[in-house]
């Protein structure tokens, strides 16, 4: 016998213990989260003002296998190919939507044929009827599309597609229209006020800064004007300065580098664009941080903005350039701001001012970290539409969220409005030993431009453990 008697005798015990050990020490990796498939909303309006809409089929995580989603359709009062078309195409009452690996949503484009007429009573019903193997039916499987403006009654769980932990997107939310518009936050640099004001705002979601040179000739501003700024003129430098040894005196001037967080247009970093051209100075702009890990620093520019008729003209160039570009910017009364990217020119960012209520993005705030107020970047900031939208925070101890109804509105005082009314108050900031978390003790009442009143509360700071995808629920309290 090969085995010595000693081990033979105790073989059973030895094997038993070894077996137990091996079975105990094998660890299973948990599965990926279930991938729920839902329409982003359960009701959408397709009013006469719009010629195409996008219907989003959202996944709760990126798809890991390819396949096809089958949508059943029912059309009431509309004729396919005569009045409307879809992409992918509608064939024998179904639409087959291909799923691409890595996508977190797919979409169907619904278009009106040119010249087609609608009475406003037509409707369509979409139903998700079949999914690829790895996907699971989610909460919103049907979508009703009315060919008119709708007033949403609310939604149980809505995920904001902020793009992930590095907050690459800015998301505009229209509560009554059930719509979310998500755009990369670095798609624009400056916003030009459309109303009576001649004001220009900076892209706070990128951490952008502006500093007046005091000169009014673009070509007179050169790299010499930036000497010493390299170690100061960025959010990172400001933070380093206040945690380092003696806080330098220049820190006191840093709040003027950003627009007032309240959104008050009389307190922008770039002063009012004057009708007297020589009063309009050249500003050095730090475009802030781009999208990526590490976030790439965006370039510095020089800009000067003048009035031109009822609109603006902007002169801009790289710091060292001896020539500059001019672009005319006209006001558009249907929007709060006209947006411009210093590389791409005029861009479309914000939906029409009547078409959104609140937005989600990163934001450059003024914060006291121990050395007085300084610009400091916050994630997960909710800004409200300055055009007619009003918000107020309610604590559950005052009135429980579920109990809040129309009768409570009579005594409700919206109080002073600021774009950061909701801000980051709906979450805690976390610290070295605690993660940021939502505050369950509060919710918000939001009155839109059409006087519809909604109650809204945040339910999660992240989706599947991924930061930058918060969730909220909301319900209609009173139709406008």
């Amino acid at each position: 016998m090969l085995l010595p008697s000693f081990f033979r005798k105790n073989l059973f015990i030895t094997l038993l213990l070894t077996g137990l050990f091996i079975s105990q020490s094998c660890q299973k990796t948990p599965a990926l989260p279930d991938n729920f498939v839902s329409f982003q909303t359960n009701a959408l309006g397709f009013p006469t003002t719009e010629s195409t809409i996008s219907i989003i089929i959202a996944f709760s995580r990126a798809a890991t296998t390819a396949g096809t989603i089958t949508i059943n359709t029912a059309l009431v009062g509309v004729v396919y190919d005569t009045q409307i078309t879809t992409s992918p195409a509608l064939v024998s009452n179904t639409i087959q939507v291909p799923v691409v690996i890595g996508d977190i949503s797919e979409s169907i484009t619904l278009s009106k044929k040119s010249g087609a007429l609608f009475e406003g009573t037509e409707s369509m019903k979409f139903t998700i009827s079949a999914l690829p193997a790895e996907m699971i039916f989610g909460p919103n499987l049907t979508l009703n599309i009315s060919f008119a403006q709708i007033i949403s009654s609310g939604a149980a769980e809505t995920t904001i597609d902020g793009g992930g932990a590095n907050h690459p997107n800015k998301v505009f939310i229209d509560l009554s229209g059930n719509k979310m518009t998500s755009i990369p936050r670095s798609d624009w640099d400056l916003g030009f006020a459309s109303g009576n004001d001649f004001r220009v705002k900076l892209n706070s979601a990128n951490g952008m800064l502006a500093l007046s040179t005091g000169k009014s000739d673009m070509n007179a501003v050169t790299a010499a004007d930036t000497i010493g700024l390299g170690s100061r003129f960025s959010l990172g430098a400001v933070f380093n300065a206040i945690i380092g040894t003696d806080v330098p005196a220049w820190i006191a001037g840093t709040p003027a580098w950003i627009d007032d967080p309240s959104g008050d247009l009389s307190k922008t970093s770039i002063t009012e664009v004057s009708s007297t051209d020589t009063s309009n100075k050249v500003y050095i702009i730090n475009e802030g941080m781009g999208i990526g890990t590490p976030a790439p620093p965006l370039p510095w520019k020089k800009v000067r903005i003048l009035r031109k008729g009822s609109g603006y003209v902007i002169q801009y160039a790289d710091i060292n350039a001896t020539t500059f570009t001019e672009t005319n910017i006209n006001k558009d009364i249907t929007r709060n701001f006209q947006y411009m990217d210093l590389e791409k020119g005029i861009v479309s960012v914000e939906p029409d001012k009547e078409q959104w209520d609140i937005s989600w993005s990163g934001f450059t705030n003024l914060t006291n970290l121990g050395a007085g107020l300084v610009p400091y970047y916050f994630q997960d900031v909710i800004l409200q539409n300055p055009y007619k939208v009003q918000t107020v925070q309610i604590l559950n101890t005052t009135k429980d969220y579920s109990a809040f109804g129309e009768s409570d509105l009579t005594t409700l005082n919206f109080g002073v409005q600021s774009q950061v009314n909701i801000g980051a108050n709906w979450r805690t900031g976390g610290g070295p030993t605690s993660a940021p978390a939502i505050r369950n003790d509060r919710y918000y009442i939001i009155k839109d431009a059409s006087n519809n009143v909604y109650k809204l509360r945040f339910t999660a700071l992240d989706s599947n453990g991924e930061r930058g995808k918060p969730k909220f629920e909301y319900a209609l309290v009173k139709k406008g």
Partner: protein, 680 residues
């Protein structure tokens, strides 16, 4: 409640009643008069005859500590301190006032790989305590022989060997409370088994061990723990051949550790993390006597080390656990290391011997928070050391290591000089000088961490940290008759380190933080030891006084250049030989530890002296051998119920500091150990 304990107790009892084995000597009654050590030498030799100052912690001491991990044994040693890293669940060690990154950990003379944690150290608690025969501690640099990172010293873990000509089997279970917490899975549950065989020229050994630490909640609430729960599985095997001229063995060790960091749920969903470490260490050693005067010693090892951060979402209502999504939520950092050492000890004549050799170390790393790609450091050292016996009384051991390194700026050569002078047969003096160096770690060279508020990058232009260390000792045997021995020793050390690596602003981009060689650091200290060994009673009293350099002294000369902290330890072992009953008491006093800090008060930076309070650590163990095979131990760990040690730091309100105390222990705990051992 504890199925493992019940199952194993039953097995042990059955085995015990069926046994009719021959009586063997209880290892407790074997008194080793001379401490035998191998660190720094080629063959085992007495600690007293070594030119190095070596402390050896033997099997009896380890056993009497009732230790479930190596830290339990070392925590009561002077000049070694531990505190818990509450964020990662690791434990920080310091030696001679230097952080754990300066301590080299060896297993049977071969370095361990996989430094981690805030102090960039080897986690000594990832070694199976049940495989340890003894621990040799050398204070002071041994960089000539062991290369980088042996700047504060070396801890060489000597593993148990198979008993010549016999089979052996040991099974052990340990049940321990964590402060007042005990149950399933609360408390500590440890089961281990080792088996060995040595027949003719061949030997083999196997070990298995499971160690479960249920965590300590302390001031944490809900699902959260102050000390994270942890499960370890460890297994190993040795296969070897031992002939007269040649001996060789292969050794494989596997460690798996899973630290669980649960989150506080919001809306039923908690974000949990597991830190999973896997280490596979292969060793091959071959010794050959070329002739009576020339020997060949070779050691090769390959280590695969991975640390995996697994983030999951856990629904506390449905108990459903899923992987978290998003960048950085799942990360695996992998280190691969190769070491090869070939030494050729040559005896030229009675008074001169030479020790030439080569030592090659290759380490590569990749994964999260390391710049993209795999990064490799290749390091080769050529060793030339010699031993001169100038007379019967005077021995000199000079040494030189020439270094080549592929990445960082290593010194071209480092010297060492060790001397021993026997004043009489009872008294000797040892004086040593050594140049030590700590290599920049892969993290310091290639770190990459960016988010909205951090921009930290590694620096490939770093130089090694370099030290000059001086130490001296005088030891005197006061009494030596039969098993009785009383001895006294006095040690002093002085370490001065240049090029200390610390965070600094990147000159090329002031917005980034990087690592730079900037600081200067010194430690010095005195240790006195009184030892008394007898058949029944062993006493060991040690007192030390260690000064650490205040790095803010250059800024403000009004502060003290050195801050001093005393330590004292007393261990008492009593062996009631007749009843096979023994008792061990280990006590350590860690004195007040002052340090200077800069704090922001009213927007002004001031230098402030903070003091870490003093504390007593005490362990008491009772050990009883029921018969030749079964022994039982019970005791109290941390008798004085030490938890957080208060700190008078003002920095507690800053951006990145949170605690005004240091987590040293989790309070008083009770333990019970059953040990079953057959040798046939």
């Amino acid at each position: 409640m504890f199925p493992w304990a019940v199952v194993l107790s039953l097995i042990l009892l059955i085995l015990n009643f069926n046994s009719n084995a021959q009586t063997i000597e209880d290892s407790f009654s074997i008194q080793q008069i001379e401490e035998i050590v191998v660190t720094g030498g080629v063959t085992p030799h007495s600690a007293r005859q070594s030119v190095y100052q070596i402390r050896s912690i033997g099997q009896e001491t380890i056993k009497l500590h009732g230790a479930s991990r190596l830290q339990d044994v070392l925590a009561t040693e002077t000049n070694i301190r531990f505190n818990q890293d509450l964020a990662t669940g690791g434990s920080n060690m310091s030696m001679q006032g230097l952080a754990g990154q300066n301590v080299k950990i060896l297993i049977d003379g071969v370095p361990m790989i996989g430094r981690q944690g805030t102090n960039n150290e080897i986690n000594i608690n990832q070694i199976d305590i049940n495989t340890i025969q003894r621990v040799e501690i050398v204070e002071g640099p041994m960089s000539v022989i062991y290369g980088a990172d042996a700047l504060a010293g070396v801890i060489n873990i000597i593993t148990k060997k198979a008993v010549e000509g016999k089979y052996d089997l040991t099974a052990r279970i340990q049940e321990e409370t964590v402060n007042n917490a005990y149950g399933w899975p609360a408390g500590i549950h440890q089961e281990s088994m080792t088996g060995g065989i040595a027949k003719k020229d061949l030997f083999a050994k196997i070990n298995l061990s499971r160690n479960e630490f249920g965590g300590y909640q302390g001031s944490a609430t809900g699902r959260d723990f102050q000390w994270h729960p942890k499960t370890q599985y460890m297994a190993g095997t040795i296969l070897g051949v031992d002939k007269i001229k040649t001996s060789a063995h292969y050794r494989l060790d596997w460690t798996n550790e899973n630290i669980f960091n649960p989150g506080i749920p919001t809306s039923n969903i908690a974000n949990d993390q597991n830190y999973i470490t896997n280490r596979w260490m292969h060793q091959f050693q071959l010794d050959h006597n070329v002739s009576t005067k020339i020997k060949l010693n070779t050691a090769f090892s390959f280590t695969h080390f991975s640390r995996n951060v697994e983030s999951t979402t856990f629904n506390v209502t449905t108990q459903d656990r899923r992987l978290s999504l998003g960048t950085d939520s799942q990360d695996t950092t992998i280190f691969n290391g190769f070491t090869g050492r070939i030494l050729l000890p040559i005896v030229i004549n009675k008074s001169i011997s030479l020790l030439p050799g080569v030592d090659v170390n290759i380490e590569s790393g990749r994964g999260g928070r390391i710049q993209a790609g795999t990064h490799t450091i290749k390091d080769a050292g050529f060793i030339l050391s010699g031993e001169l016996k100038l007379s019967d009384k005077l021995q000199i051991k000079p040494g030189l290591r020439m270094i080549y390194n592929s990445v960082y700026h290593a010194p071209a050569a480092i010297p060492s000089l060790n001397t021993r002078w026997n004043i009489s047969s009872k008294s000797n003096i040892k004086l040593s000088y050594g140049r030590g160096f700590r290599a920049p770690s892969l993290r310091e060279l290639y770190f990459s961490f960016f988010d909205s508020n951090h921009a930290v990058v590694g620096n490939t232009n770093l130089k090694s940290e370099l030290s000059n260390s001086f130490s001296g000792s005088w030891s005197w045997i006061l009494k030596n008759s039969g098993p009785k021995e009383v001895s006294l020793s006095l040690n002093g050390f002085y370490n001065s380190i240049d090029n200390l690596i610390n965070f600094g602003q990147n000159a090329a981009n002031p917005l980034e933080v990087t690592y730079i060689n900037i600081d200067h650091y010194k430690t010095k200290g005195l240790t006195g030891q009184l030892q008394s060994k007898a058949e029944k009673l062993s006493l060991n009293f040690t007192a030390s006084y260690t000064g650490r350099y205040n790095q803010l002294y250059t800024e403000d000369q009004a502060t003290n250049a050195f801050v001093w902290s005393p330590e004292g330890s007393l261990s008492i072992n009593y062996n009631f030989q007749k009843n096979k009953f023994s008792i061990g008491l280990f006590q350590k006093y860690t004195g007040k530890t002052p340090y200077y800090e800069t704090v922001l008060v009213d927007s002004k930076q001031i230098i402030h002296q903070a003091i870490l309070k003093d504390y007593f650590w005490s362990d008491l163990t009772l050990n009883k051998s029921i018969n030749t095979r079964l022994s039982i131990s019970t005791g109290v760990r941390n008798l004085f119920n030490i938890k957080q040690v208060a700190n008078s730091s003002l920095a507690g309100n800053g951006v990145h500091t949170n605690a005004n105390s240091l987590a040293v222990g989790y309070g008083r705990s009770l333990f019970l150990i059953l040990n079953y051992n057959i040798i046939k």
